[in-house]
């Protein structure tokens, strides 16, 4: 069996300590990316020139005595973030020649911290889907079983980590697009609080619900990368001025007596027994660590599903209108109806959703007074095969869009932070994900739970058979 790929912390320590050069690390990551590309299609573009140039620059900066928290750490970004000198394709032929003049804010921050970009990652076209299928760049495949979906829309972002190509990637999440592929590919994925990480330089799907966040193998790495990414950006008017906590320093703070909320209604009603069993076992671990399990009740979930649709479709249609007009045939046939759909929602429905958001925000604040984190399955089942349209769940088959997104999208609508961590495997050796949800701005609590859980378990250290 292969060794577990190194973490961000391990790579940065090696490069800072001159055990390896950033250039050597970059070359190795590029080799892995190129080797896996034909089979898994994790990338839309591998960028060896950028990687080698940035790696040499990191080696130079270290020699000059700079302190770089991500020194030489290779990473890749979902191909909706701008990287100067590469097209931001958005996973679509319609944007294939969109050449940005600048890097996205998150890319700038990572470069400043010493990270090395090795490529741009495949995604569901225009981030508008959850299977990772892509007619223009080829379907990204699940490293645990290439016949199955990796999840999406940040499909390549999760697959690249599961394949051991790099220890962190960037994704975006409007209904579950970081957490859901993380669950299906066995990685960690954070959707931060809305406003915590800048969206500037990223293509929008739905302005009021888009979130940018990292995918990693470990919680400690997620804390480190989030610390680099977070903080005010004047170019994104939704970006918060709140101080960024020292997430890595808080990983080992006690979770004893923190309250873990569990809501059986909605989140456990139609869940595969193997998934439910893994979540129950994880809850027992949290109890062993001293946390207290309590009943939780989040109101308005059915209304949230409707409100999410009343927002995402009009906002997506609004953004895409000139692109649809200019290049209608460059969108895949399964994406075009989604982009037209927003035309048929009334302004009254859209505003009702925004008004409902105010009521729901108030009621959720009350519901969260009784808990510190909410624990749910990230998805009710493991990865389905390509082409499936329903998931077989207790109670009967459920449309895939409802099965895969109903447990994640409420937190996009409300802006609450949510983290998916691997918590087990099915009998078919497919990863299972657990979702931790916190109050706004409490990412550090989520990292703390995830990190201490990972000290007690080895799910995150397992490798797909395609890699091992």
């Amino acid at each position: 069996m292969s060794d577990v790929p190194p973490t961000c912390l391990e790579i940065a320590a090696d490069v800072q300590g001159k055990k390896r050069s950033a250039r050597e690390v970059a070359d190795e990551a590029l080799k892995k990316a190129e080797r896996s590309q034909e089979r898994f299609r994790a990338f839309t573009l591998i960028t060896p020139e950028i990687a080698r140039r940035q790696a040499m620059e990191v080696d130079r900066r270290l020699k000059a005595g700079e302190n770089l928290p991500l020194a030489g750490v290779p990473y890749a970004v979902k191909d909706l973030f701008d990287v100067k000198g590469t097209p931001t394709t958005y996973g679509s032929k319609a944007f294939a020649d969109r050449m940005p003049n600048d890097d996205a804010e998150v890319v700038k921050r990572l470069t400043k911290a010493g990270a090395v970009l090795i490529g741009k990652l495949n995604l569901h076209e225009c981030a508008f889907g959850f299977t990772g299928e892509n007619k223009h760049f080829g379907n990204c495949r699940n490293p645990w079983d290439p016949e199955r979906i990796p999840g999406g829309s940040s499909s390549g972002s999760a697959a690249a980590i599961a394949l051991g190509i790099c220890p962190f990637t960037l994704g975006s999440d409007t209904g579950g697009s970081i957490r859901m592929p993380s669950a299906l590919c066995g990685t960690i994925g954070l959707k931060p609080t809305y406003g915590r990480v800048s969206r500037s330089g990223g293509m929008p799907l739905s302005w009021t619900m888009d979130h940018v966040g990292p995918l990693t193998r470990t919680a400690a790495d997620a804390a480190l990368v989030t610390k680099v990414l977070a903080g005010h950006d004047p170019a994104d008017e939704t970006s918060s001025r709140r101080e960024v906590p020292d997430y890595p320093a808080e990983l080992t703070a006690r979770i004893r007596n923190l309250r873990v909320g569990v809501m059986h209604q909605w989140f456990f009603e139609a869940v595969d027994p193997e998934v439910a069993g893994a979540i129950t076992a994880a809850l027992k671990r949290f109890s062993d660590l001293g946390a207290r399990q309590v009943e939780a009740h989040l109101p308005h979930l059915e209304e949230i599903v409707a409100a999410h649709r009343a927002i995402i479709f009009p906002e997506a249609s609004s953004f895409q209108q000139p692109h649809l007009a200019a290049r209608p045939h460059d969108f895949a046939d399964d994406i075009r109806p989604l982009l037209h759909a927003g035309l048929f929602f009334s302004a009254v429905d859209y505003l009702k959703a925004l008004r409902a958001r105010r009521i729901i925000r108030r009621d959720w604040a009350k519901a969260f007074e009784g808990i510190d984190v909410l624990v749910t399955p990230t998805t009710p089942c493991t990865a389905t095969k390509f082409g499936a349209v329903t998931a077989d769940l207790p109670g009967g088959p459920k449309p895939l869009v409802r099965a895969y997104l109903d447990l994640t999208l409420p937190f996009n609508f409300t802006g609450y932070p949510a983290l998916s961590i691997p918590c087990g495997f099915s009998k078919a050796n497919l990863p299972i994900g657990l979702q931790l949800v916190g109050k706004p701005w409490t990412e550090s609590v989520l990292f703390r739970f995830a990190h201490q859980y990972q000290q007690e378990t080895d799910w995150h250290r397992r490798l797909p058979p395609t890699v091992a």
Binding site: A310, Q321, A325, D333, H340, A341, F345, A356, R357, W441
Partner: protein, 67 residues
């Protein structure tokens, strides 16, 4: 009698063409009509929700302060 909740492909065709400036192929209009009909049916819980006199929540304040 046609179901009033059902969107017909001609309506989709017209609106989508107006919107994009390009004619929409029949099969695409039909696909969009079926899809949108399902989506609009999902709106009922939102339409029935009482929101009193609440104003629309702006995105920034939605999570910035304690609600």
């Amino acid at each position: 009698m046609p179901d009033p909740r059902r969107l017909d492909p001609q309506t989709v065709h017209k609106l989508a063409t107006d919107y994009s400036g390009q004619p929409l192929a029949d099969q695409h209009a039909t696909a969009a009509a079926a899809f949108v009909t399902t989506l609009l049916a999902d709106m009922q819980p939102l339409r029935q929700m009482s929101v009193g006199d609440a104003e629309p929540a702006t995105t920034y304040s939605a999570a910035e302060g304690q609600p």
